[in-house]
Amino acid sequence: MDNVLSIRSLTVEFSGFKAVDSLNLDIARGEIRVVIGANGAGKTTLMDAISGKASASQGQILFNSADITNWPEHRIARAGIGRKFQIPSIFKNLSVRQNYQVALSQEPRVLHNVFRRPRDTARIEDVLNLVGLTGSADEPAGNLSHGQTQWMELGMVLVQDPALILLDEPTAGMTVAETSRTADIINRLHGRHTILVVEHDMAFVRSICRTITVMHMGRKLAEGPVEEIENHPAVREAYLGSGGIGHA
């Protein structure tokens, strides 16, 4: 079958401590996959390893069957992996539109861009609509509300049009309304993009996803459809500490 991303016995160490421990993971094209796990289970580190922020001490990361293990961030991004951070990271001093103009990076070389002027494209407009920021397109991004900022960063990733999107807790700090809005933004992407989400909020997870991977102590604990996972003894076991999976 056609895997966009396949991770082979990946290990990431921080001075001896194995944040990710010989992990295997396959994600099919067009799939929306959620990774859950208690704090410190290694979810974010996994994202870091994929996007090049953390370097793998062992194992392989294959993206469209190319080995991208320990490539520099920008090459991974160019290869077609976009990432949204847990704490939204955007260009506060640029307007939303300018943020997207920067994000629109089919041609990232300097000399090429010296001879281009920033321009709007249909795609930028589409994304602005999708994330509902058309109104505030020309405000400095720093002025946006927290929720808007989350969407806006998501938008930046979309403008890039990556084959694989990594979302690190996209609903962190959102109201219920905002969360559901985020959910249907993500659902609208389903099929067009492959999406890997790290999330705590099970309600949200149910609303967007088919398959869940559970991580614990850097290892894969379980993998399967939502219902199955929710009744999985080992998972419940692992989650006791954090008061049951429902509210994790």
Binding site: S89, K92, N93, L94, S95, S105, V110, Q160
Partner: protein
């Protein structure tokens, strides 16, 4: 559309002023303003590196100095003061008294390293090197620095140390550079049969021309897509990386551009002041460049440029006012502090706010586009 109009009018006025100035000024201020305009180019260089790229170069004097020396070497060889000056085999006078007794009297080997001067017998070569060498040096240091992801104050310290190092070597290599005394008694700069006497309007116009050119170039660069990406990098390096940009290459590119501008400024300074000195590499000089940019507006090429010219005029005027003979440095110090405290974004910042306010009635979209292209980024709180 109001800002647009103001800009149009303003620029026309400014250009007009620059053109008619020679008629209003005597030889002294003509030459002096020309010199200050070379500082203006330095201001532009600072704005690009510091304001837009967030690279604080505390050793900008290095590139200014290199530019100055490269051209000065050519002008020295052409000078009648040098032995056989202007002939096929000139030797800079100072090399004679730095030569070992009985050394062959030929540029090739009168002193160790004197051969480096040989190609500079052609003036165009000096000019070329005045651009190329700063570029190459900046490329080298920039590449090593930014690939190692050195940033912020660490960049400042490296550039600073580098300038000090270069200064040391320059002074120590007396047989080739005439050490601390620098290069003087040069010939006039002349290119294509046109000679530039520093006190003639012609020279003034040369400087004005280059200044205008570098302003246009800088403005064009920062309003290009690359310029936008550069500001993105300044805001958040990592974000830009995850969007697929090779941050280092952008930083290096603009670092080099800034260095080239500084080198050009150095050359023009030699044309107008007729000497090159290792003191061009002093920390104090590089720091004053930073101050120019800060006061004028670090995030606006035009602001920084005017800041440089304005402060230079101010300080020379102040120091020449008998009443202030002892106090002028107190005044300058106070001005720096005041500017930093009350105008964190420099004068350009203030102007932009005003324009913003006046443009508000119109749709903010119309206003923000051209502003974004011009010095509007001055609305960014200083990093």
């Amino acid at each position: 559309m109001k800002p647009r109009v103001a800009m149009g009018v303003g620029s026309v006025l400014l250009i007009a002023l620059a053109l008619v100035l020679p008629a209003m000024l005597g030889a002294l201020w003509l030459n002096r303003v020309a010199q200050f305009m070379t500082y203006g180019i330095l201001g532009v260089a600072m704005a690009i590196a510091w304001g837009y790229a967030g690279i604080l170069n505390l050793g900008q004097g290095l590139y200014f100095g290199i530019g100055a020396y490269m051209l000065a070497m050519s002008l020295k060889l052409a000078a009648p003061g040098s032995l056989e000056g202007g002939t096929p085999m000139p030797i800079p006078d100072f090399m004679l008294w730095n030569a070992a007794p009985g050394a062959p009297q030929d540029l090739c080997c009168i002193t160790s390293g004197s051969f480096l001067w040989i190609p500079f017998q052609r003036e165009w070569f000096g000019v070329l090197m005045g651009v190329v060498v700063p570029a190459v040096v900046a490329l080298g240091i920039g590449y090593t620095m930014f690939r190692a992801r050195v940033s912020g104050v660490y960049v400042a310290i490296i550039t600073l140390a580098l300038a000090l190092l270069a200064r040391l070597v320059l002074i120590d290599a007396q047989p080739v550079t005439n050490g601390f005394n620098g290069l003087t008694s040069l010939s006039f700069f002349s290119i294509g049969g046109i000679t530039f006497d520093p006190y003639q309007p012609r020279t003034y116009y040369l400087v004005v021309g280059v200044l205008a050119l570098s302003l246009v170039l800088a403005q064009w660069l920062v309003s290009s897509r690359a310029g936008l990406i550069l500001q993105a990098i300044r805001d958040d390096e990592n974000r830009t990386r995850y969007l697929g940009y090779n941050v280092a290459s952008y930083q290096v590119f603009f670092f080099v551009v800034s260095a080239v501008l500084a080198g050009t400024a150095g050359m023009l300074y030699v044309v107008t002041a007729q000497f090159a000195s290792p003191t061009f590499l002093d920390v104090a000089f590089s720091l004053s460049m930073v101050v120019w940019a800060a006061v004028g507006g670090r995030n606006s090429v035009v602001g920084a440029c005017l800041g440089a010219i304005g402060l230079s005029v101010l300080s020379s005027a102040a120091s020449e006012t008998p009443a202030l003979l002892n106090a002028w440095q107190l005044v300058l110090g106070a001005i720096f502090i005041g500017a930093v405290l009350f105008l964190p974004r420099g004068l350009a910042g203030v102007f932009n706010d005003l324009l913003r306010r006046h443009a508000a009635p119109d749709t903010s979209r119309a206003a923000s586009a051209p502003l974004a292209a011009s010095g509007a980024r001055a609305t960014i709180p200083g990093q």
